[in-house]
């Protein structure tokens, strides 16, 4: 004979007819005999029926017209982008060094929420960075880095991501001097296309001028160059008129510091996947990327950003904050993983008592974080190497 508590837990499924016959009979019998449980049943039933009776509201009268006009704008934007792509494809052939350019853009990169995750795959730095991303001597004597898959002949022919866009023509002696003095990244490839944060002076390559003219023609405003900040709450903010290049660079950095990238629609970190491009491109000016990186790579990330984007400003996590986050998160994860392990053992031992299992699963889920669903989290905890990882989110504002 089941008690009132256990019967009440089954009422929800009873109302959905999803209990097996014996459990269903037990509930029927119990609520027939027990007035208190019968009241609970009627209460639950009434709520459910009232939910079902909530009627859909009609679309606003102007909904379709507004949507139509929004779609027309989107079509124009898409055509514009495609036309740019075509033009730049021709330019590439002609000049050989153009990357594609998109409209005036801000990409927000949010090192978001600092959600720690235990991943069972340990992210590794490439054993030999120069082997993976070789440093090449340019014709003018400066060094440049190229992605590993590029053939030698293509390394100077302009890459799809535009990394080499500024490297096609020899720089003036003044510009060479400036580049020597400015902070340099793995390749220092951004020098000619970047506003120097300290001096506020714009350095442009001959290609950039033409590119900017194109951008002005397309957008009716003077193009701005790339500037990167990390702000207080760990948002990496990239302002750029060239999102494709900026995105390529961010991807490049993230890969280089030890993660891979995968395009996904939904931002739910899962075991074995390091970075998610969430695809929230509700306009051209933003893109969401979720990347999962170890805390200990944060420093490396800032160094990479700093070298890749001269003028980079880091107002984000300092060493003390980082230590605090790491410690706090580690402790929390240890506490949670111990508790989860304990609960998991209980759950395993108690099968097939579904009620108890359910309670335990509920508690486990409460221990999980908002953006980190329990199943993946449990998986990762159970087989974890014990490393603590952080989620980087590039999200819209």
């Amino acid at each position: 004979m089941r008690g009132c508590n256990s019967i009440r837990k089954l009422l929800s499924e009873y109302l959905e007819n999803s209990l097996d016959e014996s459990a269903s009979n037990a509930v029927s019998e119990h609520i027939y005999n027990c007035e208190a449980c019968r009241k609970e049943y009627l209460f639950e039933k009434s709520i459910r029926e009232n939910c079902r009776q909530i009627q859909d509201v009609e679309l606003p009268g102007d909904f379709c017209d507004r949507l139509h006009s929004g779609l027309m704008d989107a079509v124009k934007d898409i055509q514009k982008e495609e036309s740019k792509r075509r033009i730049f494809n021709i330019d590439r052939k002609r000049i050989g060094v153009f990357s594609s350019v998109a409209a005036g853009i801000i990409i927000f990169v949010a090192l978001g929420r600092m959600t720690g995750i235990l991943f069972d795959s340990v992210l590794k730095l490439p054993e030999d960075m120069n082997k993976e991303y070789g440093v090449y001597e340019k014709p003018d004597g400066t060094q440049e880095m190229a992605a590993k898959d590029e053939s030698d002949s293509d390394q100077w022919a302009g890459t799809e991501n535009g990394l080499l866009m500024a490297a096609s023509q020899p720089l003036s002696p003044e510009e060479q001097e400036r580049q020597k003095n400015a902070p340099r990244g793995m390749g220092g490839m951004d020098q000619a296309a970047t506003v120097n944060a300290t001096g506020g002076e714009t350095l442009r390559s001959p290609d950039m001028t033409e590119e900017s003219l194109y951008s002005i023609a397309m957008n009716g405003a003077e193009a701005e160059d790339t500037q990167v900040y990390i702000e207080r709450d760990s948002h990496v903010l990239i302002e750029t008129n060239d999102p494709q290049t900026a995105e390529a660079k961010v991807r490049n950095i993230i890969e280089r510091i030890g993660a891979s990238i995968s395009d996904e629609q939904i931002v739910v970190p899962r075991k074995g996947m390091d970075i998610f491009i969430a695809g929230y491109e509700s306009n051209d000016a933003r893109k969401d990327i979720v990347a999962v990186l170890p805390y200990d790579k944060y420093q490396l990330l800032t160094e990479e950003l700093s070298s890749m984007f001269p003028g980079f400003v880091n107002n984000g996590l300092n060493e003390r904050d980082l230590t605090f986050y790491v410690k706090e998160r580690e402790q929390e994860l240890v506490r949670n993983s111990e508790r989860i392990e304990e609960l998991e053992n209980k759950r395993v031992n108690m099968q097939p008592n579904t009620d108890v299992m359910q309670l335990i699963l509920n508690e486990i889920e409460e221990l999980s974080t908002e953006n980190n669903e329990i199943s993946s989290w449990l998986d990762t905890v159970k087989s974890s190497s014990g490393k603590v990882y952080v989620v980087i989110t590039i999200e819209p504002r």
Partner: protein
Amino acid sequence: MPENEKILLDRCCTGDAAAFEALISSYQKKVYNIAYRMLGNIDDASEIAQEVFIKIFRSIRQFKGEAAFSTWVYKIAVNMCLDELRKRKKSRSVYIDEAVRLEDGEVEKQIPGEMPSPEEMTEKNELRGIVENAIKLLDEKHRCVVVLRDIQGMSYEEIAQILNCPLGTIKSRINRARAALRDILNPQKELFIGEYVK
């Protein structure tokens, strides 16, 4: 996927807005209603629903057909609503107790979704109103599953796909959401039971 939907989808991939409008015509109302129930007011719902469809149009080539098109549409809609709620949470937490300045003086800002008194709610159709208000008081995670399951009548499997969660997680979340709803409605319990024992 139905053949006609597939044809429209192919045309959408070439940037055909008319095909897109035809394709999404049967989803507009549902997306709008999901947004309305999630966000609690029609203006925000309308705004988000517009954004949802524009986003879908722009990213339609990313639809790989792994799940039903409808599921993909609702997944984007639900995610954008959750994003919006998260944004609101961040910005509102500062202003929740702030008084509102009107031309004729200062009044206390009302917390949205406040429950009507039991006396005000006696008729059956008003019970629906009580439930609607109670749903607004649920936290976003719980509200989401109640809207999808108990209002929109979606299956557990579809909700699991939309929220990208295992079925077991969805089931337990729905159970907890219903328990939370019961807790909110508990003071008016007799009204609900009264429906059956008149």
